[in-house]
Symmetry: C2
Subunit: 210 residues, 2 copies
């Protein structure tokens, strides 16, 4: 089978889901996982699972199952999370501090290593083990540490302006929590974590079902 | 043009985005919005915008633009957010309390009206104006208030169990913050707000670009 380099976004998202399941199995000392277990754990058909993996070559043996350790490492390599990625967080409000204190990112080899705010009551304080810096230092820190990924959790009215600033300092990917569509250069990846919209879309689905 | 009842999920998501822009324009006392402004605000082409609206009939006049007030009300009606929806939140940890204190939901006619936790240090406390109840009261409160939508922000190891409980009491839609794929009845809508996966997918995109 020919290997392709382009992988659909939905596949990448499912790979991330597989990885999570595999890591849990590994913690539980499970060595082999069957297609049937995968289907039950993830509500993903074994056909879909095999198709997703086929982008990268052949894994697993029919009738035997998949080696948990091997598959974990392969997917980590594919997703690029086999090495630690440092992330900067901008805006240490209620949500920002919850994210800073969230211990679950490290499991994914993701680490919030810098946090910024503009408010004098926050700058200098320690949150989630990180000393909050003033946003005036953004440029210097991003360049010095060569940071590429940012979490944006500033108030909505500042989001566009701060995002542009981040991009001008070298940030290439933003997880945006502000309820606004950021307009940035085409080579910057933006992922919107928009909770009100998620809820609104659930309301809409419930309405359609009636 | 014939009206269809099935609307793709991506369209529903964009409608939610349009609504957000329209509400902001309305606050700023803007009465008419042009296709060109929409394109600039939202990075959505005016063709896409017209196509999305065409699911519900005809809006706007070519060369004149769209009436902000009228379009806001129409989209709210379509999405079902023209009336207030009450939401229950389960799990008042760091993230849960950030969500409870988030003032932005009301703008979308969404209101977290009940919050539950099992920890004695939390039950009875007030957070975001809401007194936290013990999860033992879930059944009674959900049934009495006829709640349909829940935010699940409990620790990952309890997520599946609590979700099943919620569904058994009548919950039909869940916004899930736990990093796990919930396995529930097919008629329950689950939306996963999974921040580590979002970040992982950004890491992957950056890697692909190199």
């Amino acid at each position: 089978m020919e290997r392709t380099t382009y992988i659909p976004q939905e596949t990448a998202r499912r790979l991330s889901l597989y990885l999570r399941m595999l890591r849990r199995l590994r913690q539980e000392k499970v060595r082999i996982v069957s297609s049937d277990q995968i289907r039950r754990f993830l509500s993903v058909s074994s056909v879909q699972f095999r198709k997703d993996l086929s982008y990268f070559g052949e894994f697993g043996k029919r009738g035997v199952g998949y080696d948990v350790e091997l598959l974990t490492k392969e997917i980590e390599k594919i997703l690029g999370t086999d090495v630690l990625h440092e992330i900067t967080l901008v805006g240490v409000g209620r949500l920002g501090s919850a994210l800073l204190e969230y211990p679950g990112f490290l499991e994914f080899n993701l680490k919030i290593s810098e946090a910024f705010d503009s408010h004098k009551d926050k700058v200098g304080k320690i949150c989630g083990g990180i000393r909050i810096k003033h946003i005036r230092q953004l440029r210097w820190v991003i360049k010095k540490r060569n940071l590429r990924i940012a979490i944006l959790s500033v108030p909505v009215e500042f989001a566009q302006e701060v995002a542009q600033e981040l991009v001008s300092y070298g940030i290439k990917a933003i997880l945006n929590f502000a309820p606004v569509n950021l307009v940035l250069a085409a080579d910057v990846f933006v992922s919107n974590a928009d909770m009100a919209s998620e809820l609104e879309s659930l309301v809409y689905k419930l309405k359609q079902k009636k």
